[in-house]
């Protein structure tokens, strides 16, 4: 357990001190949201209608943008080999790194989303369900991103492949995530489905991603 904390602390430190990690994702997120009304025109009613979807799409793309970073540098400098040889099972290493990614990228985005919603006239009544849905959904997004990152870790042109492989898995998150924000109700089936996706990914994805990493490490 202590070792897992150490792994997570290491990743958090790297993400915050190197810059470029969380900062890039948030910058991208803000850029999309700010450019959106400029591109669509300042019609308040239209913006209110598309605000939850726009925030979700911006979240998906920002997470995807930072996905490559989860394993790549550790794979290139050999730290991942050392982690695979260590006492911590590779599945838990994956979980720790995905958690670090979630804490530094997806979670700040999910917290920032309702605030940025004011820029695009988000209905104040849906702020709570949107925040909750994004909190749960971003966990699934981070885990899925780590699976994509593990599958393409050693590939030179991995970016395009990550998008193609992970996009199908992001579609349900997007559909249920946006459906959860249609009314202020907090016990909607879509929100429950989103939690189910997040929990299932939490269990299954470390196993799949660790299997993919082992294929590259041996």
């Amino acid at each position: 357990m202590k070792l897992i904390w150490a792994l997570m602390r290491r990743d958090l430190k790297l993400a915050t001190r190197q810059g470029g990690g969380a900062g890039t994702a948030i910058g991208f997120f803000v850029t999309v949201i700010v450019l959106l009304p400029l591109g669509l025109g300042p019609d308040q009613a239209l913006l209110q209608r598309i605000a939850p979807g726009a925030l979700w799409i911006a979240l998906l793309l920002s997470v995807l943008l930072s996905a490559e970073r989860i394993f790549q540098s550790d794979f290139e400098d050999g730290s991942l080999d050392a982690m695979a040889l260590g006492v911590v099972p590779l599945e838990l290493v994956v979980l720790a790194k995905a958690a670090a990614h979630w804490l530094t990228t997806a979670l700040p985005l999910a917290v920032a989303a309702p605030l940025l919603g004011f820029l695009i006239n988000l209905d104040p009544g849906v702020i709570l369900p949107l925040g909750l849905a994004m909190l749960l959904g971003s966990l699934a997004l981070s885990l899925l991103a780590s699976l994509g990152a593990a599958i393409t870790v050693a590939l030179r042109r991995g970016g395009l492949l990550v998008s193609l492989l992970i996009l199908p898995f992001y579609v349900p998150c997007l559909i249920f995530g946006v459906a959860a924000t249609t009314s202020p109700d907090l016990t909607k089936p879509s929100l429950l489905m989103l939690s189910a996706i997040a929990l299932a990914s939490l269990v299954l994805i470390p196993i799949a991603a660790a299997a993919a990493l082992r294929a590259y490490l041996k």
């Binding site: 599958i151 349900p172 294929a215």
Partner: protein
């Protein structure tokens, strides 16, 4: 299954099976198309356009079946280390993608006169499109990774993870309100479709399945041959 692990034995079997499979496919296609286009009655609501069903529905079934077969082959490659299972999954992917594409295109052609739109973003259509993306992603993995052993390991994970979409496609019309009609053949309580339409549909499905079998045998044979060539080339380089 293990006795077919020997590629030479598999090749011999494939060679023996190919001709009968092609003949049967030809007969099934001739009979199925004749029944679908001539003897089947037009629908009381849709008129003659209902004949698109006989091309569209079996293609969609096959797209799902081939992906299921790919996932099963990948799982058996991971569990039993069957040496031909990865090759079977790899060879099946482009064929399945073709069926999926055919289902999407014929569905689109059918949707225009019936729904008034080439494409609607509803649950069945979207999940089918996602299935097509999964096929492309799976094939891209084999393309992107040069070492075939490593590519096989990664492709297995992709195929098994993507299988989650198959039940979603199947039950999408029950779970969500969909423009697409519900199941009328494989459902609890028996098919609700008229017998004069059911038979041509089932024969067309059989024809598609035989076509898949023939194409799969050829694709697996060429895959085995190309691996042999690769081995020989490597051996030639090592001996020099």
């Amino acid at each position: 299954m293990q006795q077919f692990a020997n590629p030479a034995r598999f090749l011999k079997l494939a060679q023996a099976l190919l001709l009968p499979v092609w003949v049967a496919a030809l007969v099934a296609f001739a009979a199925g198309l004749y029944m679908a286009l001539v003897t089947a009655p037009p629908d009381y609501q849709q008129g003659e356009t209902v004949r698109i069903m006989f091309v569209h529905v079996p293609a969609a079934w096959m797209a799902l079946m081939v992906y299921t077969a790919m996932a099963l082959a990948s799982a058996s490659a991971a569990i039993f280390r069957h040496p031909l299972a990865d090759m079977a999954a790899k060879a099946a992917a482009p064929i399945g993608a073709m069926f999926c594409f055919l289902a999407l295109v014929t569905g689109s052609l059918w949707g225009k006169p019936m729904w008034g739109a080439w494409w609607v973003w509803d649950a069945r259509l979207t999940s089918m499109f996602v299935l097509f993306l999964l096929y492309l992603g799976y094939m891209a993995v084999w393309q992107a990774i040069e070492d075939p052993h490593r590519a096989a390991l990664i492709a297995r994970i992709v195929a098994i993870a993507g299988f989650i979409n198959v039940p979603i496609v199947k039950f999408s019309v029950d779970w969500w309100n969909s423009l697409h009609q519900g199941a009328s053949v494989f459902r609890m309580g028996g098919p609700t479709i008229d017998e004069r339409m059911l038979w041509p549909l089932l024969i067309m499905a059989l024809a598609y399945m035989l076509l898949f079998a023939g194409l799969l045998l050829i694709a697996m044979r060429s895959e085995i041959t190309s691996r042999k060539i690769r081995q020989l080339q490597l051996a030639g380089l090592a001996g020099r």
